[in-house]
């Protein structure tokens, strides 16, 4: 698993994907957070990081599939899957290795935004008047959300040899799971809450309040595990 993880991560670094993702994410979020008047913290009047945590997921919907789209699709196309699957590696080694590499890249892209927190701490009036537990909870939530998107992206990449298709499918699945189910729920009457709880938004909002509930954590981890399991089943059917 470690070998696959290392290989995947090195390939991100060597192919400029990593730098592109980090640069685009930080520029986009930075502009939204500090420059665009509609969403800028400076014009908002409250010392919180809501912009990052409410718009971050939407940026991830496009960025994470871009990171993961090549993971299996490219190997299928180039035939290198045959190389991997005839080496002494289990299917899990390959799937989890690829997932962790993508996940690490998402976390690394997220890390520099910690600077925003310290800026806002000093901008608050009085200085330091920030809902720190809320921020911590939101970071945990956003990281886990990145993890869910990564697993979805890898799954989408495993069902097609075409990277563009993988990207579009992944972005679509992420969108549906993030806010689609939440929006759908109103159609279902008495089942509305259940449908809402299937979506990410419900748990993401709950965790963002600063209360890291084990049920929410369990939700994120189950979605990741389930998606990776589907991926594993899919890739072991390569024959």
């Amino acid at each position: 698993m470690l070998h696959i993880f290392k290989k995947e991560f090195t390939s991100f670094l060597n192919s400029l994907i990593a730098y592109m993702v980090i640069a685009v994410f930080l520029t986009g979020i930075g502009l939204l957070m500090w420059v665009f008047p509609e969403t800028s913290v400076l014009d908002y009047g409250f010392a919180d990081m809501d912009t990052l945590f409410s718009l971050g997921p939407f940026v991830f919907i496009f960025l994470v599939p871009a990171i993961t789209m090549k993971s299996f699709a490219e190997e299928k196309k180039l035939g290198t899957l045959e190389l991997l699957f005839t080496k002494p590696l289990t299917d899990w080694d390959i799937v989890v290795g690829k997932f962790l590499a993508g996940f690490l890249l998402v976390i690394i892209a997220l890390l520099p935004t910690l600077v925003y927190y310290f800026s806002i701490v000093s901008l608050g009036s009085p200085a330091g008047n920030v809902d720190t537990p809320g921020v911590i909870g939101s970071y945990v939530g956003l990281s886990l959300l990145g993890g869910v998107f990564c697993s979805i992206g890898i799954f989408a990449s495993s069902i097609t040899p075409n990277q563009i298709v993988a990207f579009i499918l992944a972005a679509f699945f992420c969108f549906i799971l993030y806010s689609g189910l939440d929006s759908f729920s109103s159609f279902f009457g008495s089942q509305a809450l259940f449908i809402k709880q299937l979506g990410i938004l419900y748990h993401y909002e709950s965790i963002s309040k600063g209360l890291i509930d084990s049920r929410d954590l369990l939700y994120f981890l189950s979605v990741i595990s389930l998606t990776l399991l589907l991926t594993k089943i899919k890739v072991s059917q390569h024959n």
Binding site: H3, K6, K7, S11, N14, S15, L78, G79, T80, L81, E82, L83, F85, T86, K87, P88, L89, T90, H238, N239
Partner: protein
């Protein structure tokens, strides 16, 4: 380490790629695996290396069953796939380190092994290049190097010399011979000369069925049913007269005054032809007994699937079958 294939069957959709194939390879043997396109060679190899699952039957390598203990089997096999897939954006030494790492080699051991493989496969000058920058021949060497990195007991090579130039073919062949001294090697190829140069034993499959499995010498003797002679006269000769010669079964015109005479049984036709030409005072420009080559054996075993056009003429020993 031995390799055993028992009643292997593989069905793709409604097409039977392999139909109840069984053979075994003893430790230290070099076996040539032949067959026309689509005969099931690559499928057999892919099942053996654990990439594909068999529909029925089993493969046992060094005592481990591929279906039940794939990891153990994969550890003792070195495999060069047909299209030699490699990570194009990796450097040669990086690729080899990656593969070596998977086999559990670490630190100095890995470094040493990568160095040794680079040396062995003649990649010293190319080791700091990216694989995408390499020519086909060098890529093939990288493929071979990655198959050998963990010093495997069983080596499975799927057409290791396709697409190489004649010099490279000779070099790769030499390399295979060198490294295979104490290994079990199964390799598939289209080049018959290669089999004759390297193998102890030949396995031929056609349309998913085993059609021959024998020592090379036995196979050549066994199949030499008739002797044919190629002859060229200086002037026009009556074909009917040639046909009336003793022991001549068939006369095939090869254009001009060239003929191929196929004999009855295993009598040599040459004295008869020589007598014929001297009696009629026709100069004989060429007279050559055709050796029974592996090509003709292969041709006979798998004839149906060959294209017409090479039927009338057995290719020279160096030739590669055009559509095989």
């Amino acid at each position: 380490m031995s390799l055993e294939i028992r009643h292997l069957t593989k069905v793709y959709g409604n097409q039977k790629a392999l139909n109840d194939i069984s053979f075994s390879v003893r430790g230290g043997e070099i076996v040539g695996f032949l067959g026309p396109n689509g005969a099931g060679k690559s499928t057999t190899m892919k099942i053996t290396t654990g990439f594909l699952q068999a529909t029925a039957g089993e493969v046992v390598v060094g005592g481990f069953n591929v279906m039940d203990q794939p990891i153990q089997v994969k550890r003792i096999i070195g495999y060069l796939p047909e299209h030699n897939p490699l990570y194009q954006d990796m450097y040669v030494h990086e690729h080899l380190s990656f593969v070596g790492g998977i086999y559990g080699l670490t630190a100095t051991g890995l470094k040493q092994r990568v160095g040794a493989m680079i040396e062995l496969c003649g990649l010293s000058r190319e080791q700091n290049k990216k694989i995408e920058e390499l020519s086909k021949g060098y890529r093939q060497r990288v493929g071979l190097a990655q198959a050998l990195i963990h010093d495997p007991q069983v080596l499975i090579l799927d057409e290791p010399t396709t697409g190489l130039d004649p010099n490279q073919i000779v070099e790769i062949r030499k390399l295979i011979k060198e490294i295979s001294l104490n290994k079990t090697v199964v390799f598939s190829t289209h080049i018959m000369q290669e089999v004759q140069a390297i193998c102890d034993r030949v396995i031929v499959i056609n349309k998913g069925e085993l059609v021959a499995d024998d020592k090379l010498v036995n196979l050549l003797q066994h199949e030499s049913k008739s002797i044919s002679v190629e002859v060229e006269f200086e002037t026009i000769v009556d074909v009917a007269e040639l046909r009336s010669l003793t022991n001549v079964k068939e006369v095939i015109s090869l254009g001009g005054n060239k003929f191929k005479l196929v004999g009855e049984g295993d009598t040599d036709l040459r004295p008869e032809i020589f007598k014929f030409s001297s009696e009629r005072k026709i100069s004989l420009l060429g007279l050559k007994k055709e050796d029974v080559s592996l090509e003709s054996v292969f041709h006979e075993l798998t004839a149906e699937s060959l294209v017409s056009g090479i039927n009338s003429q057995v290719p020279s020993p160096n030739a590669q079958f055009p559509n095989v």
